[in-house]
């Protein structure tokens, strides 16, 4: 996992050879009783890192998740 550098306020990643691949996704749901979140992936082959990871992942595989804390409005309510 990358670590937050408190002085530069930037994420510090491990060295290049072990650098993970970062992609933007979203959690589509959460179940606190089961202690689970779920993320949806489009499986479009092995050329994309996230698609490849998702298709090949097995129970027990690791995935890091980073996000900002707090609630945020996804989109403003329509006026009409």
């Amino acid at each position: 996992m990358p670590k937050m550098n408190s002085e530069t306020r930037s994420w510090e990643y491990p060295r290049t050879y072990s650098k993970p691949i970062i992609r933007t996704y979203t959690h589509r749901g959460i179940d606190l009783e089961k202690k689970e979140i779920w993320i949806d992936f489009v499986v479009h082959g092995d050329e994309g890192p996230a698609s490849a990871w998702a298709a090949n992942s097995k129970p027990g595989d690791a995935l890091g998740v980073m996000m900002k804390r707090g609630k945020k409005e996804l989109y403003s309510p329509a006026e009409h």
């Binding site: 970062i22 996230a50 998740v65």
Partner: protein, 162 residues
């Protein structure tokens, strides 16, 4: 020095040094102040942040230590920021002064604005042949509960072979 009234008196304090009428420099407060300690105990279990911004270096005070002898530690190394209660933020110093109390849970949002946590795959469910839902579990599910479902996150895919 009346530390507690300084803590509470935010109305007369402005971090903008341009406005001299509003700006008032505060010297570091006395972390052994009895009233401050009582306040911290009353709020315990909690950390009380009394100065600076969360991004700066963090100063802890050991029991019976003096302000000058505060032990320096870095954010995230020793504090669970999801359990920090922020009482006030006074940015007139480049330091954070923290009184450490025994603490458990707090409903106050963290001073660290980010979640970064490992998860593991529980199961996979193909909703369509090309639409895959992956269920993940981890200690930080409860932290994610305080965010909005559907908001962007960053997934960290381990490099091949690790």
């Amino acid at each position: 020095m009346d530390s507690l009234s300084q803590l509470a008196d935010v109305s007369s304090y402005d971090i903008s040094q341009k406005d001299e009428a509003l700006y008032r420099k505060l010297s570091p407060i006395n972390l052994t102040d009895k009233r401050l300690m009582n306040l911290a105990k009353g709020l315990a279990p909690a950390h009380v942040r009394v100065s600076g911004t969360w991004a700066n270096a963090t100063f802890f005070q050991e029991p019976n230590d003096t302000f000058e002898n505060c032990r320096i530690s870095k954010m995230n190394d020793e504090i669970d920021w999801s359990k920090v209660v922020v009482l006030g933020s006074f940015s007139n110093t480049s330091r954070i002064n923290i009184i450490e109390e025994n603490m458990k849970d707090s409903t106050i949002p963290s001073a660290n604005p980010f979640i970064a946590a490992p998860f593991t795959v529980v199961r996979k469910e193909y909703i369509t042949p090309h639409y895959l839902r992956i269920f993940l579990t981890g200690e930080s599910v409860t932290e994610i509960a305080a965010t909005t479902v559907g908001i962007n996150n960053k997934i960290i895919i381990p490099p091949a072979g690790t």
